[in-house]
């Protein structure tokens, strides 16, 4: 299809309909309420509010459609929007890092797609909400000079059997509670007392007659059952037909989704490493999640994290295989160096404190509030073994290492993650030491990168600094001195303070040298 490359274009007109669609649910509820309860103030007020919102959203949609323009020229992507607050933006095409195409169920029904052109900084991203599907496919080609065809032998596809890992999601209980929360919310909006609804009243009556272990057991079973069902549905919706392909020009393309589809294209040159996440239930099942670290995408942002996923939750072995293929070497299989025993002691003492501190107010509550049982504080000693085990497990997982061009770090118990990061991606080090770390001769080393920050937690001071210097030679070296004595002793705190007071003595001379270095005052 031939088309003048540099003509200004509008968004797709169907966008306005998409904007209105989310009111469909409330409208139906309101209509049902109107039909069953009749025209009372209780139903008419929400209805009037609803139509006002409806009109408002429609007007905003038309306004946005009318004022937004974009065009793609040989070198740049340009974007204009806004009526009162006009925003003109222009991005050089070679700064485009990712092109992300998302379509919710309504978008798909109407044949439109939201395209996000990522350039690195979050607020500088261009969002075209929404363009036609054919246009979105062409926008994807913005990435490379000439996007190639997929090299099909290199494709990674999701397997149906992996759906089992959906059940090991930590979100299951929350998903199970969500529908009940939503139900009570709807009742509240229409001003209904839960006791007025026959079904709920019967359930409450039945519950108050039965002994409490039965009630608790039933409630737990219902919530978990709903949670598992929800988690499975969600998994299918998000990961349906997952496909990771590498195209001939080196672009990775990730496609997935059942009702809402998502397609992400990212350039090989923007890849900074990978992260293997093993949250606790998933780890018990031998599974892991693998995601790419991409320049300009913050891996700790929950929405962006799923968008750069290189695999659905999958067997750990499969995740390692895909990681090795993406990185070009089995980097994640490298043996990691252990951290000092002091890191274990720090974790154990933290575990004790986290249960000991709440125990005091709980004991108070037990004594003061007559309705609460006196033994409430006993919860603390019951929880202690769990936190101690988690602490020990966290220490077992701690580690850092190096493999070729990549540095590795692993930490966490409930949310263990292993990160492999390109050494040349590090754009600065931060050394952090809490009072507890200073007493134990430990520190936390943080690598700042354009693909998020990555920590080596509770590493020995000498060990951590040597590692930083090994990973990025020359950056930290001018600021290192031989340690006065082995750092892992408790007396290091006093030696540190004497060093700093000695250097503040000599500070008078250094101030003058500083100002001369800067030229003049």
């Amino acid at each position: 299809m031939s088309r003048p490359e540099d003509a200004w274009e509008r968004l797709d007109a169907r966008t306005i309909a998409v904007g209105l669609s989310w009111l469909a649910g409330p409208s139906i509820t309101a209509a049902v309420a109107l039909a069953t309860l009749g025209a009372t103030p209780r139903t008419l007020i929400p209805l009037a509010t609803l139509s006002l919102v409806f009109a408002g959203i429609a007007a905003l949609g038309v306004l946005r459609y009318a004022t937004t323009r974009y065009r793609i020229t040989g070198e740049r992507v340009e974007f204009r929007s806004g009526l009162v607050f006009r925003r003109d933006r222009s991005i050089p095409r070679d700064r485009v890092r990712t092109v992300d195409a998302t379509a919710g169920p309504v978008h798909r029904l109407l044949g439109v797609t939201v395209v996000r052109v990522g350039v690195g900084e979050q607020d500088a991203d261009l969002r075209l909400d929404a363009v036609s599907r054919a246009r979105a496919a062409r926008l994807r080609l913005l990435l490379g000079p000439r996007s190639g065809t997929p090299a099909d032998g290199d494709a990674v596809t999701g397997r149906p059997a992996w759906i089992g890992y959906a059940l090991l999601s930590g979100w299951t209980p929350l998903i199970g509670l969500a529908p009940f929360g939503a139900l009570f919310r709807v009742l509240e909006i229409f001003g209904l007392e839960p006791a007025e609804v026959g079904l709920l009243r019967e359930a409450w009556n039945a519950a108050s007659r039965s002994p409490w272990p039965v009630v608790a057991g039933t409630a737990l079973a219902v919530v978990l059952a709903v949670g598992f069902a929800g988690a499975l549905l969600l998994h299918v919706e998000v990961w349906w037909r997952f496909r990771l392909t590498r195209e001939t020009d080196g672009t990775y393309r990730i496609r997935r989704g059942l009702l809402g589809t998502r397609s992400l294209s990212l350039q090989d040159g923007r890849l900074r490493g990978v992260r293997l996440a093993e949250p606790l239930p998933l780890r018990w099942g031998g599974g892991a999640r693998l995601s790419a670290l991409v320049a300009g995408v913050n891996p700790d942002d929950s929405e962006e994290r799923t968008s750069t996923a290189l695999l659905p939750p999958a067997p750990r072995k499969e995740a390692l295989r895909v990681a090795a293929r993406v990185l070009g070497a089995p980097v994640l299989a490298t043996r990691l160096r252990r951290h000092p025993r002091a890191a274990l002691r720090l974790r154990l003492s933290r575990a004790v404190w986290t249960v000991a501190l709440p125990a005091v107010p709980l004991a108070w509550l037990g004594i003061w509030a007559s309705r609460l049982p006196d033994g409430l504080w006993l919860l603390a000693p019951v929880c202690l073994p769990v936190t101690l085990l988690l602490a020990a497990d966290a220490y077992r997982g701690l580690g850092h290492g190096m493999s070729g061009d990549y540095l590795l770090t692993r930490h966490g118990a409930a949310g263990r993650r292993t990160t492999a990061l390109r050494r040349d991606a590090v754009i600065g080090w931060t050394v952090g030491r809490s009072p507890a770390q200073r007493r134990r001769g430990l520190m936390t080393l943080t690598a700042a990168t354009s693909a998020g920050t990555h920590r080596v937690r509770d590493v020995g001071v000498g060990q951590g600094l040597a590692f930083a210097e090994e990973a990025v030679p020359g950056l930290l070296a001018p600021f290192l001195v031989p340690a006065a004595r082995p750092a892992a002793t408790a007396s290091s705190a006093s030696s540190v303070s004497s060093v700093s007071s000695a250097s503040s003595m000599s500070s008078v001379s250094s101030v003058s040298s500083a100002s001369s270095a800067l030229g003049h005052r």
Binding site: P435, E469, L480, A484, S501, S507, A517
Partner: protein
């Protein structure tokens, strides 16, 4: 061989101690004054209010006295040919290094309180939010010179800043 970080070469302005003290007082004084006022006005609740006052005032006083001096000992900075190096914090301490080649922008930052004491801060930004370095409590003129110097250096050193 065991190694350790040495403190950066230059301390901040001694006036920064007064600035930090003022900043601590901005946090500590309002609740103390309100509690004192309430204790004076409401006799029946006086023992409770005075107890709360003590609970706020004693740690507050300790914070106001210790924090600024401790910060002054820790907060230090240094610029070399290749990198910016700065230490900050008082209980939780951080040392940051950013190479010249990765510096994107250099700004001065000055809050209203800092202006009262003729102080200024320098903010060095890199492509990572966590990689940016703040040097607080410099003399205003010194900070301006530092920004000029850093901007010139960062431009002279080749690098793509990402």
């Amino acid at each position: 061989m065991e190694v350790d970080l040495r403190p950066p070469r230059h301390p901040v302005e001694p006036r920064a101690i007064r600035w930090w003290t003022a900043r601590a007082l901005v946090w500590v004084l309002p609740p103390v004054l309100v509690l004192a006022l309430l204790a004076a006005l409401i006799p029946p609740a006086r023992p409770w209010l005075l107890a709360t006052l003590l609970l706020v005032a004693v740690p507050g006083l300790g914070y106001t006295l210790c924090m600024p001096r401790q910060r002054y000992r820790i907060h230090r900075w240094e610029i070399t040919e290749e990198a910016v190096y700065a230490a900050s914090g008082w209980l939780w301490r951080t040392w940051r290094v950013a190479p010249m080649s990765r510096i994107q922008t250099v700004d001065t930052v000055r809050g209203p309180l800092q202006q009262v004491f003729g102080l200024s801060g320098v903010k060095v930004t890199t492509a990572s939010a966590a990689g940016s370095i703040r040097i607080q409590g410099l003399d205003r003129h010194q900070a301006t010179d530092l920004v000029e110097h850093l901007t010139a250096r960062a431009q002279a050193v080749p690098g793509d800043a990402t």
